[in-house]
C-alpha cells in the first residue's frame, strides 16, 4: 500500500467511508435484485471501489465525469445522494434520472455527472466533446472519462484519444482494467495488453496504477488532473478486479476461484484499513463508526427508494425532445 505523505486521518477515513458506502450499497442491491425491486442489468463495482473513490477525490465540483454502465461507484463517489441512485435503480421518479435510465444510466446534470453509458466505448467521444466545450469557452475544467479495458478494442477509444491529443483537450482517460471484458480475458482480445502503451502511442502521458490501492489511485489522479488542467489529455490504466460476476447473469466459467481469492486478499477496503491503522491514521473505533453510519445511509437510501413514486403512464412520451413553444407552428 502506498504511503502518501499528505494523507491525513480525516482524509483516510473519508476515503474508507466512501468505498464502504459503495460496497454496502451494492450488497443491498443484490438483495433487492433477488427481491425483484431492481430489474434489468445490474453491474456491480465490488472490488473496484478504490478507482472511483480515488479518482473522483482529485476532481473539483466544476469538473465533469463520464462513466459506464458499471457506474454506481462513480455516482456515489461523485456525491450523488445514495437515495436518488437507489430510487433510480427502483425506476422511481425521485431517481437521479427520474427513473427513466435505471442502473446503467445514472445522470446528474448539476453535479456534472454525464452517465451512465451502456455502449462499450460510447462515452469516450462525449467526454472529449465536453472537454472541447470547456476549452472553447475558456473554462478551467477537466473531464474524467471512465471505461473498461474492453473498450480499448473499440474504434471509438482510438479515434477519441487521437482527437483529444491532437486538439490538446483536458481529458483524463481512466481505464478500469479488471482483466475481463465480460468473459474475455485481456490477452484473448488484445494483441498489445499494455493499455498505457497504447495511449503513449497517441502522444499522451500514461501510467499504470495499482487500482486496489486507493492512496495510489488518488496520487496518480492528482498528477493526471494537473496535466489535464494545463491543457493536455492523459490516461491512467487502473489494474483492478471485480470480485463478482459481470452482471446478474454470469456463471463465471472464464476464471477460476483461486484467482478470485487471490484478488480478494487485496480488497481495497481491508488494505486501506490495515495501512491506515499501521500509520496511526485510522483506528477500530473510527472504522466501526463508519460501518454504522454507512449502514444507516444505505437503509435510508432504500427507504427513500421504497417511498418513491412511479411516473404515471400518461407521462410516457415526455423527455424525448424538449417541450416546444406551442405558438411556434403558427
Amino acid at each position: 500500500m502506498t504511503a502518501l505523505p499528505a494523507l491525513d486521518g480525516p482524509t483516510a477515513l473519508e476515503l474508507y467511508r466512501e468505498m464502504l458506502l459503495i460496497r454496502r450499497f451494492e450488497e443491498r442491491c443484490v438483495e433487492l435484485y433477488g427481491a425483484g425491486k431492481i430489474r434489468g442489468f445490474l453491474h456491480l463495482y465490488d472490488g473496484e471501489e478504490a478507482v472511483a473513490v480515488g479518482v473522483l477525490r482529485a476532481l473539483a465540483h466544476h469538473d465533469a465525469v463520464v462513466a459506464t454502465y458499471r457506474e454506481h461507484g462513480q455516482a456515489l463517489a461523485r456525491g450523488l445522494p445514495a437515495g436518488e441512485v437507489m430510487a433510480e435503480l427502483f425506476g422511481k421518479r425521485e431517481g437521479s434520472s427520474g427513473g427513466r435510465g435505471g442502473s446503467m444510466h445514472v445522470f446528474d446534470a448539476k453535479r456534472r455527472f454525464y452517465g451512465g453509458n451502456a455502449i462499450v466505448g460510447g462515452g469516450i467521444p462525449i467526454a472529449v466533446g465536453l472537454a472541447l466545450a470547456d476549452k472553447l469557452l475558456a473554462r478551467p475544467n477537466v473531464t474524467v472519462c471512465f471505461f473498461g479495458e474492453g473498450a480499448v478494442a473499440e474504434g471509438e477509444f482510438h479515434e477519441s484519444l487521437n482527437l483529444a491529443s491532437l486538439w490538446r483537450l483536458p481529458v483524463v482517460f481512466v481505464c478500469e482494467n479488471n482483466l475481463y471484458a465480460m468473459g474475455s480475458a485481456l490477452d484473448v482480445d488484445e494483441a498489445e495488453t499494455d493499455v498505457a502503451a497504447k495511449a503513449r502511442g497517441y502522444r499522451m502521458a500514461a501510467e499504470r496504477v495499482d487500482g486496489m490501492d486507493v492512496v495510489a489511485v488518488l496520487a496518480a489522479a492528482r498528477r493526471a488532473v494537473e496535466i489535464a488542467r494545463k491543457g493536455a489529455p492523459c490516461l491512467l490504466e487502473m489494474r483492478t478486479y471485480r470480485f463478482r460476476a459481470h452482471s446478474m447473469f454470469d456463471s463465471q466459467g472464464y476464471r477460476d476461484k483461486a484467482e478470485i481469492e487471490r484478488w480478494r486478499a487485496r480488497d481495497p477496503l481491508t488494505a486501506l484499513a490495515h495501512t491506515g491503522k499501521a500509520h496511526g491514521l485510522l483506528d477500530d473505533a473510527a472504522l466501526a463508526a463508519a460501518e454504522v453510519a454507512v449502514q444507516r445511509e444505505v437503509d435510508d437510501a432504500v427507504a427513500f427508494a421504497e417511498r418513491g413514486t412511479l411516473e404515471p403512464p400518461e407521462h410516457l412520451t415526455r423527455h424525448v425532445t424538449a417541450p416546444r413553444d406551442p405558438g411556434r407552428r403558427a
Binding site: 444510466h105 452517465g115 451512465g116 455502449i119 460510447g122 469516450i124 472529449v128 472541447l132 469557452l137 425532445t321
Partner: protein, 325 residues
Amino acid sequence: MTVSYRECCKLALRQCLDQEPRAFLMGEDVAAYGGCYAVSKGLLDLYGPERIRDTPLSESAFVGVGIGAAMGGMRPIVEVMTCNFSLLALDQIINNAATLRHMSGGQLGAPVVIRMATGAGRQLAAQHSHSFEGWYAHIPGLRILAPATLEDARFMLPAALREQDPVMIFEHIFLYNQEGELDAKVTAVDLERAAVRRRGAHLSILTYGAGVQKSLTAAEALAAEGLDVEVIDLRVLRPLDDAALIDTVKRTHRVLVVDEGWRSGGLSAELVTRVCELCFDELDAPPARLCTAEVPIPYPKHLEDAALPQPATIAAAARRVCGRG
C-alpha cells in the same frame, strides 16, 4: 441575383457563425479543403481554425465530440461528408444524441446540428449514393430536415441551430448546383411544416429533397394532359406534418409518394400508412408509391437513371393513380 443551393448552404453557415458565438463547424476537410461539396470554401479564412475545424477521418469520434460539446454548452455544426459515412457514427447519433435527454430524465440535451450530403444521381456507385434520411426519421429524439429549395437551404440551418435537440440536415447532392433567385421576402423558415410547392386539384405528390424538382417537372408535363397535380414538399421528415397530409388529401383525394429511399420498410410506407390512418375516407383511389428500385445504386448512368424516380416515371405513376394509365 442568382444564387446556388451550395451558396445558400454557405450563407446559412455564415449566419450561424456570425450570430451565435458558441457555433462552430467541424468535419472532414471542411477547413483547408473547403468541404467535400465546397460548401465551407473560404470560411477558414473568415473564421479561423477554432471555428472551422478539420477533423480526422473518425466519424464516430467527431460526431460524438459534437454531441459532448453541445452538452457542454457549445452549438456545434457537424458536417459528415455524406450520409454514407454517417453509418460509422450511428452509435453516437442513435445511442447518444437521440437518447440522452430521455435517459437523463430530461436533465440533458444535445443541441447539435449534423449536416450531410445524401442521395444518388452523380454516378458515384453503390457506396456513395445512399439515401438514409428515411432511416433516421425512424428514431425518436431526432429532427430530420430535407431542404429542397434555395430558401430552405438558406434558412433551415440557422433555425436548426436554435433547437434544443439534435437536428440532422440532409442536403441532396443533386441540388448543390441548382441556381435561382432567393425570395427576398423570406428571412426565416419554420422547422415544422410541409409546404405546397404547386397547387393542384387531381392528385397530391408527397415528396422531399431532389424529388420535389423532379415532381414539379412531372407536374408540368401532366398539366398539358389536363391533370392538375399538387406537389407537397415534406421538408421535415421527422416529425411529419400530419395536418399538411390531411389538407392536401382533402383537396385532391389521390396520393402518390415519391421517395428516393427504397420501398421496403421505408419512409414511403410510413406516409401511405399515415394517409390511410388520417383520412382514408377522403381517398378516391389506393395511394401509390414510386421509390428507388431495390438494388444497390449501379455505376452506369443508364442503370442509375433507371433505378431512381425520374420525371417520366413519376408522371406515369401519377397517371395510373388517376386512372389514366
